[in-house]
C-alpha cells in the first residue's frame, strides 16, 4: 500500500530503528516476539507496584488499631492494588504469553495484523501510566476496583482519581480488545498447513476462546466507564438516584463485564497447564476434545452468571435462584478439566521441574479457590460472607493460587525459548516453596478471618484476640511472598545473563514453538515440520510410532 507522503520520513525512520536493533527497536517494533516480551516486562513492573501496595496494606493490618496508613490513603491503596493486579498484571501477562507464543505454536511468521499488535501494547502501557499518574494529580482513585456508584460519582469522589481510573481503563481495555481481535484473526487465517482446529495446541485453543470472551465482555466495561464519565464530567444522570438513575444499573453493566473477566484471567492459565502437565508427565493430554469443549461451555455460561456478585442487593428470590443455579453449573466444566489434568499425570513418568511444581500446586490451589467459589453460589452463604475476608481469600486462591501459579509454571517452561537460557532450577525450587508457603500463610487464614466476621476494605480493626493473631500470620505470609518475588527476579536476571544454554528443545516437548531456535529468528522458522497431529514434534522424533498413524489405526479397528 502506498503511504501518505507526509508520514513517509517518520515511517522510514521508525522502520530503520526496527531493523537496526538496539534500544530504539523496542519502541518501533511490530515483531510479536518483541511485543510479547514488552508485555511480560511491563506487567512484571506493574506486578512489583501492585505487590508493594499489597505489602503496605498488610503492614497496616499487622496489629490492631495501627496508624501506619491513614484511612483515605488505605482506600486509595486497595483500589490501586486491585485495579493494577487485574488490568495491568494478570490480563496483560497472559496477553504477553499469547502474543509471543501463538504465532510460533501455529507455525506462522507473525500475527495477522502486526501493527495492531504494537498499537494494543502501547495502549496498555500508556493506560497503565495514566492510572499511576493519578498519584501525582493529587489523589488516586479510592472507590474499589469495581467502583460502585454512587460512591464513584462526583459527590462522593470529588477529586480527579476516579476520572483517571475510568480513562485509564478505557485506554487499557481498548488495547485488550485489539489483541483479542488480532488473536482471533491470526488463528483463523495464519495456521500452517495441517494445523487444523483438532491439532491446535491447547494453549492456542484457550487463547482463542479467551479472545472471544475479551471481545464480548470488554465492551460492557467500556459502556459502564463511558456512562460514569458522562455523569462525572458532563453532569449526566445515569447512576444518580436523585434524577431517577439507578446505581444498581452500574452493577449490572459492570458485572456483565466483571464475571467473564474472571475467566479472561483464568482460561489462558488453563492453557498453560494443559501444555506443561503433559510434557512433564510424558503423556498425551487426557481428553483433548473435552478440555477444549468444556472451555467453550465455560465461555458461554460465563455471560449468564453475573448477578452472583449482587446477591446482597436484593434482586428477589427468583433471580437469586436462577443465578445461583447457573453459577453452580459453570463449576462443572471447570471441575471436569481438573480431572483431565489429574488423569494426564496418572501413571505418567513425571519430571518434577520447577515448572511442574507450580503446575501441580496450581491444581490444588485452584481447586480450593473453586470450591470456595461454589460456596458463594449458595445465596445464604453469600449473604453471610460477602464483603468479608472470606471473599479476599477466595479470589486470591483463584487469581494468585490459580493464575499466578500457572503463569510461573509457564515462565519456567518458556523462558528458555524467550531467552535461549534456562532459569536456575535450584533458585526455582526456592522460589516455588517460598511462594507456596507465603501464599498459603497469607490467604488460608483469611478464610477464618472472614468467617469470624472481619470485613474487607477497612483500614484497621479492633483488638480482638483471634483477629489479631490471624492478621499477624497473614502479614508474615505476605512478607514471605515478598521475598519469593525477589528470589524470582534474581533468578530471571541472573539466568538471562549466565544461565545454562537451552538449545532448541530443552524439555523434549511436542509443539511447534520448540522446532525453532531459542530465541527464534525474526522470521520465526527456517523449517516447519509437517503437522499431522496435535504433537508434530513427537511425530518427527518417533517416526515409528506417530500420533497420526495410531489415530488412523484406531479408526480402522473401530470400523
Amino acid at each position: 500500500m502506498s503511504e501518505v507522503p507526509v508520514a513517509l520520513p517518520v515511517l522510514r525512520k521508525l522502520q530503520r530503528f526496527e531493523h537496526e536493533g538496539g534500544m530504539l527497536s523496542w519502541v518501533a517494533s511490530v515483531d510479536h516476539k518483541q511485543i510479547g516480551i514488552l508485555y511480560l516486562v511491563t506487567s512484571l513492573i506493574f506486578f512489583l507496584a501492585g505487590g508493594v501496595e499489597a505489602l503496605l496494606m498488610r503492614t497496616q493490618l499487622i496489629v490492631p488499631e495501627n496508624r501506619f496508613l491513614n484511612p483515605s490513603l488505605y482506600n486509595q491503596i486497595f483500589t490501586m492494588h486491585g485495579t493494577t493486579m487485574i488490568f495491568l498484571v494478570v490480563v496483560p501477562v497472559l496477553l504477553g504469553l499469547m502474543v509471543y507464543l501463538i504465532p510460533l505454536m501455529i507455525g506462522a511468521r507473525d500475527f495477522a495484523f502486526p501493527r495492531l499488535n504494537a498499537f494494543a501494547y502501547w495502549m496498555y502501557a500508556l493506560g497503565g501510566l495514566l492510572l499511576y499518574f493519578s498519584f501525582f494529580a493529587h489523589d488516586a482513585p479510592a472507590a474499589g476496583w469495581f467502583a460502585y456508584t454512587p460512591l464513584s460519582e462526583k459527590p462522593y469522589s470529588n477529586l480527579q482519581g476516579m476520572d483517571y481510573w475510568a480513562l485509564s481503563l478505557l485506554v487499557v481495555g481498548t488495547g485488550t480488545i485489539a489483541t483479542g481481535l488480532n488473536v482471533i484473526a491470526t488463528i483463523a487465517s495464519m495456521r500452517i498447513k495441517g494445523m487444523s482446529l483438532r491439532h491446535l495446541p491447547l494453549f492456542a485453543w484457550m487463547s482463542l476462546i479467551n479472545s472471544f470472551l475479551i471481545v464480548g465482555a470488554m465492551p460492557a466495561l467500556n459502556a459502564a466507564l463511558v456512562m460514569l464519565l458522562v455523569d462525572r464530567q458532563l453532569q449526566g444522570n445515569f447512576f444518580k438516584p436523585a434524577a431517577g438513575g439507578s446505581p444498581i444499573f452500574w452493577q449490572h453493566v459492570f458485572w456483565n463485564f466483571g464475571h467473564p473477566e474472571v475467566y479472561i484471567m483464568v482460561l489462558p492459565a488453563f492453557g498453560i497447564i494443559s501444555e506443561v502437565i503433559p510434557v512433564f508427565s510424558r503423556k498425551v493430554i487426557y481428553g483433548y476434545a473435552v478440555v477444549a469443549g468444556s472451555t467453550v461451555a465455560i465461555a458461554l455460561l460465563s455471560f449468564g452468571v453475573w448477578a452472583h456478585h449482587m446477591f446482597a442487593v436484593g434482586l428477589g428470590h427468583f433471580l437469586d435462584l436462577v443465578f445461583a443455579a447457573s453459577s453452580m453449573l459453570i463449576a462443572v466444566p471447570t471441575g471436569v478439566k481438573i480431572f483431565n489434568w489429574i488423569a494426564t499425570m496418572w501413571g505418567g513418568a513425571i519430571r518434577f521441574t520447577t515448572s511442574m511444581w507450580f503446575a501441580v500446586a496450581f491444581l490444588v490451589m485452584f481447586t480450593i479457590g473453586g470450591l470456595s467459589g461454589v460456596m458463594f453460589a449458595v445465596v445464604p452463604i453469600d449473604w453471610q460472607l460477602t464483603d468479608t475476608y472470606f471473599v479476599v481469600a477466595h479470589m486470591h486462591y483463584v487469581l494468585f493460587g490459580g493464575t499466578a501459579f500457572a503463569v510461573f509454571a509457564g515462565i519456567y517452561y518458556w523462558f528458555p525459548k524467550f531467552s535461549g537460557r534456562m532459569l536456575s532450577e535450584r533458585m526455582g525450587k526456592w522460589h516455588f516453596w517460598l511462594t507456596f508457603i507465603g501464599f498459603n500463610l497469607t490467604f488460608m487464614v483469611q478464610h477464618s478471618l472472614g468467617m469470624l466476621g472481619m470485613p474487607r476494605r477497612v483500614f484497621t480493626y479492633p483488638n480482638i484476640h483471634t483477629w489479631k493473631v490471624l492478621n499477624f500470620v497473614s502479614t508474615i505470609g505476605a512478607y514471605i511472598l515478598g521475598v519469593s518475588v525477589v528470589v524470582f527476579l534474581w533468578n530471571v536476571i541472573a539466568s538471562a545473563r549466565q544461565g545454562r544454554t537451552a538449545g532448541d528443545d530443552p524439555w523434549d516437548a511436542w509443539t511447534l514453538e520448540w522446532a525453532t531456535s531459542s530465541p527464534p529468528p525474526v522470521h520465526n522458522f527456517d523449517y516447519v515440520p509437517p503437522v499431522r497431529s496435535a504433537r508434530p514434534l513427537w511425530d518427527l522424533k518417533h517416526p515409528e510410532d506417530t500420533d497420526w498413524e495410531r489415530a488412523r489405526k484406531r479408526q480402522r479397528n473401530g470400523r
Partner: protein, 190 residues
C-alpha cells in the same frame, strides 16, 4: 497457510470488531429503555424528538449503505473509476446525515436542553453522540480510501479486501442507527 480465512483476515477482524461494538451500543440503548418514562416533567422523547425530520436524514444514511455496496462491488470488478464515484456519493450522504444530526442538536440546545437536564437527555445525547462519533470515524476511513485511490489503491487483492472491511464497518454504523431510530424515535415517541 491452512487457515481457512487466509484471504479474508480483514473481514474476520472487522466482523469480530463489529460484534464487540454492537455489545457496547446495546448497553447504551438499554440505559435509554430502562430509564424511559422516568423523566416526568422534563423533556423526554415524546415532547422533543421529531421522527419525521430525523426519519428523512435516516433514509439518507441508509441510502449510503447501498452506495457503499455499489462502490465496493465496482472495486471488486476492478472498475475503479465507478467505485470512486459511488464512494464520493457515500461520503456525501454520510456528511449530510452528520449535518442533520448537528441541526437537531442545535435545536435541542436552543431549547435549553443539555446532557444534565434529565435522564432522557443523558441517554439520548450519549447514545446518539457515540453513534455520530462512529459515523465520523467511518467518514475518515472512507476519505482515506478515497485519498489512496489517487495513488492506485484497489489494484491489489489485499487492498480490495481492506475496502470491503471498511464497507462492513459502514454498514454496521447504519445498522446501529436502525436500532437507535426505531427505539428512540419510534418506540420512544409512540
Amino acid at each position: 497457510m491452512a487457515g481457512e480465512f487466509v484471504h479474508q483476515k480483514s473481514r474476520v477482524l472487522i466482523l469480530t470488531f463489529i460484534f464487540s461494538e454492537s455489545i457496547f451500543f446495546a448497553f447504551l440503548i438499554t440505559a435509554f429503555v430502562l430509564y424511559h418514562g422516568r423523566s416526568a416533567g422534563g423533556p423526554d422523547a415524546r415532547n422533543t424528538l421529531d421522527p419525521i425530520r430525523t426519519g428523512i436524514y435516516s433514509l439518507i444514511l441508509w441510502a449510503s449503505s447501498v452506495t457503499v455496496w455499489l462502490s465496493e462491488r465496482a472495486m471488486r470488478h476492478l472498475s475503479i473509476t465507478r467505485s470512486k464515484r459511488w464512494l464520493e456519493v457515500t461520503i456525501l450522504l454520510g456528511g449530510i446525515f452528520l449535518v442533520g444530526q448537528g441541526i437537531e442538536y442545535h435545536g435541542l440546545f436552543a431549547k435549553g436542553m443539555s446532557v444534565e437536564t434529565d435522564l432522557f437527555a443523558t441517554t439520548f445525547f450519549t447514545t446518539t453522540g457515540f453513534h455520530a462519533l462512529h459515523v465520523f470515524i467511518g467518514l475518515i476511513v472512507l476519505l482515506i480510501v478515497r485519498g489512496l485511490t489517487v495513488a492506485g489503491f484497489g489494484q491489489e487483492e489485499y487492498q480490495r479486501e481492506g475496502f470491503i472491511a471498511a464497507s462492513y464497518y459502514w454498514h454496521f454504523v447504519d445498522a446501529v442507527w436502525v436500532a437507535v431510530f426505531f427505539i428512540f424515535y419510534i418506540w420512544g415517541t409512540r
